[in-house]
Amino acid sequence: MSEDDVDLHQVTVHLDRILDTQGVTIVELARRTGITVANLSVLKNNRAKAIRFSTLTAICHALACQPGDLLSVTLGDG
């Protein structure tokens, strides 16, 4: 696997879709999880480079979802 191939394997965060579906605002999610609005915004806009398991756990608990609902990986052409 070359370095160029790694760049194609991107993780997409679907936080905005889940928030819209459940009618929850970022501010409310910040209140429920203890994560700052700024960090949640970074996550929502796909600008995060890594996520802690504790953060993932807090968001999944707050939104009653699974990591697979929140994250997906866009694979490159085989």
Binding site: I35, N39, L40, V42, L43, R47, A48, K49, A50, I51, R52, T55
Partner: protein, 243 residues
Amino acid sequence: MGALKVTTRVTGAQDGRVAVAIAEAGLWVSLLGGLLGLLSALRTTVYGLTGWSFLVAPRWLPNLYMPSLPATIRSDDPGLQLPALAWKDTVDGTVDAATGLLPVSIGGPVRAVVEWPGFTTLTPMETIVWLSPAWIAAVGVLVGSWLLLRIARSARKGEVFTLPNAHRLRWLALLIAVAGLAHNAVASWGPIWILTRSAAASHLETDHWTMSFSPALFALVVAALAVIWEGGVRLAQDSDGLI
């Protein structure tokens, strides 16, 4: 308990900002000291080479008006006469003949001060050699303070482990090694060279000199810190964007 933890974290952050602010203030003072040292070295050099003094008249500055160097009198100099204290034997043992106290003797090396009638009486080369340590020290303090100040200012902005800071530490290590060793070499050899060219040369110890290599050791410590800092930069880059 949650409120207590938040308070402790806030206080810790404030303490860090206060420490950085104090360090920054100290570095500004050091920078000012370097500038004043540079100005002093410049004034002395101009006076020594041209006889013209600016800002302060030479008579108010003894080291300009009558420069001097410490020296050691040769132990075999025929003009050197050290007091010879006489002892005497008593029933209570040997005592000093004049005072009756415990016997002591006076020996060398004998330190002296060689004075010149003015900086302008030195040759240009002697003036440059004499003042080189002052120039090296002033420039070293100025540049070193500036490098550390840039690091402190970036720390105040919360950007501590950055590549520019790591590079500044490398430059600081190089500065300490080069300027420190050069200063020590010239400061220890220079006065002896000047004394050997003076009228008092035959009376003085001028055949050996020593210098300290501690700047090299200090530079190694700072260089090691720079390597550690680069590790911190990599860690910071790894956690950049980590939620």
